[in-house]
Structures are given as C-alpha cells and as structure tokens.
Symmetry: C2
Subunit: 209 residues, 2 copies
Amino acid sequence: MKAFKIPEATVMRLSIYSRYLHQLMDEGEDTVSSGEIANGVGVSSAQVRKDLAYFGEFGTRGVGYKVSELYLQLMKILGLDHRWNTIIVGAGKLGSALALYQGFSDRGFNICAILDINPAIIGNQLGNLEVQSLDQLSSLVGQHQIQIGVIAVPANHAQDVTEQLLQAGVKAILNFSPRVLKVTPDIVLRNVDLSVNLEILSFNLALNR
Amino acid sequence: MKAFKIPEATVMRLSIYSRYLHQLMDEGEDTVSSGEIANGVGVSSAQVRKDLAYFGEFGTRGVGYKVSELYLQLMKILGLDHRWNTIIVGAGKLGSALALYQGFSDRGFNICAILDINPAIIGNQLGNLEVQSLDQLSSLVGQHQIQIGVIAVPANHAQDVTEQLLQAGVKAILNFSPRVLKVTPDIVLRNVDLSVNLEILSFNLALNR
C-alpha cells in the first residue's frame, strides 16, 4: 500500500478522464491540454492538473499531454492494465443487468460467473453466461481465480454471501445490497446504493426551490 | 441557491447517515452519539461532526442526537421530505432493474413511467408499471409533473432523449449512459457509470499488489 492517500473523488475523476481520452483517441486526436480535458468532462483545469499531480509529472508545458500516453498511464494507475475476474452473486433484475452490462468488460472486468439460489432462475442464459447454483461459489472462485465479488442479493443474505466469497479467496467486494457489510481490513469493500445518485439530484433540486 | 457549496461526498454521507438512523429507529434506539454513527457507517466521528456542521447545530453535548429528529432533519436537507416524480427512459435490463428497484420508492422517488422505442418491449409489465412508447414522453411528463428523468438508453440516443426530457420540463437528469450529455446550467445533471465502482476497487487492489 502506498503511503499517500488518494481521495476517492480523484479516483472517480481519473476514471472519467480516461474515458474522455479514449473518446479523443477514437476521434484521432494526438494531444490535449488540461483545459480541453476539463472542458470535455465538466471540471476546472486546475482540478485536472491537481488530480494528475498525485501521480507525478505528465505532459509538457505549452504542448499538453499525448492522448494515448496519458490514457495508458491512467489505465495503469486505475489497475486497468490487466483484467480482473469477477463473480456476481444474485441473478435478479439487478444482477442480470450487471451481468449483461457491456461496460464492465470494456474496462477490463471479466464477469466469469453469476450465481443464484432460486432453482427457477438457475440455468437461465444471460448473454454468454448461464446462471449457476450458489453451491458452486467456492469451486468457481478457485477455478477462475476470481478477485472481485459483486453482491446483488437481498439484504438478509448479503453478509452470508460475503463471508462465503471471502472464505473462497475473493479480495474485493462491490455491494449493491442496502446491508452494511462487515469485512476484515485487508478486504477492499465498496457499497453502491443506486438511490444515492437520485438523492444528490434531490439535494440540488431542493437547494434551487 | 445557497451561497456555500456542500461537497458531493458530504451529501453522499448524509444519505448514508440517514439510512443508518432509520435502522436505529427500527431497532427502537432513542439517542445516538457521533461516535456511534461513525462506527455504524465506517467513517471517523470527526467526519460525522464536520458533515453535520454544514447545516448548523444538531444534538446536545454529552447526550448526542435524538435519532428521530436528526433523521427528519437529514431527510429535509436531502430534499427527501417530499416525493419526486421520476420517469425512466429505456426499458432494457438496466432500465427494468431500475424500475423494479424498491429502494427508490422507499426514499421518496415515485417512478411514474418507463418508456422505450422497441415495439417488442412496449406493453411489458414491470411491477406496477407498463412500458410505454417514447412518443408519450412529453404528455407523461406534463400529466405527472415529472421533475427527474433517468436515462437508461444506448449512448447514441442519450443526448436526443435528454433534449426531449428538458423540452418537456424535466429539471434533473440521472444519466446511466456512457455519453457525456450537454445541458444548460440550470439543469441538475448526474452521470452514473456502473464501471466506476469496480474501478475504485481495482485501483485499491492495484495499490495492494
């Protein structure tokens, strides 16, 4: 673990910058200034420079950044210079949507398997994946050397599934359930509540009232 | 618009605190300290006090906060003391999962309608909602006085759908498509990229390598 702490908001912006740079590459752009990145993604150019400064010197004064070089460096920082094997637990609507979400694979996340406990769902085809039984969790994690587990089960099963994932060797958990999960400090945990995004809108709408 | 700017990370934490307070109310708790809130949601107690201080004085020294009062105050700050009418455009897997996501209604967001352009999907039932034609957008927004539009369409349709929503009178957009949307400054816009959550995991996993 590096000694300095990068704010999560910075990591999220690096992710956004990298997408924008990819778009510029598609458009055949060779170089880009911090001002152009700022403009393209809707932050200040000072913010762009500050975010990039966490990771050393990029770009040349007066010339800007080489698009493809900066893109590759950001992908490396984000840990996206190699692929991460991922398992989804829960094949309801949300789990199914996640399994079919093309964006994950585009960014280096292989969805290796999706599991459920409901016999009526097990065997269903979701794109290239077949929903498998939760009983297979441990063997699938070992077989595919899965590092990331995605929790898309009801709240009352979330802690139990998490413990099964960690016992099987998963190192990071993305939790879509509303349950606050307990994990040991060596595990990377992130909670996603889809409502939070709407609440940031309502907060801002309420300010404008 | 208030003169001071609240960091988005603070708004997200207020949302998390309010959920935790709701859980405490369910458990019959009467008062809570900042340390207990901090412990319950996994941040420092200094962070809890700093976040709440943006909005004036809460609680009593040595006694802590009245759970129900703090909950109601947070809900008001978050704009969740009344309900927001919401429309989802795009009834693919993601749009369908969002339409069925119970968490939205629990937090005050009424999903009034879900629309698609695909005749094979229009008419499908999603919980209490029937997928309607995109042609109905303008009349539905007017009829239900919809303030929030959720974009769950492919990238190449996202800007067009956004413009239709704004023309119909929607004031806030939650964008699940990967397209960077252009809106006027009076519109509240938030982009959600589900991959970003996985990338924050991969960033942290890469730090640990």
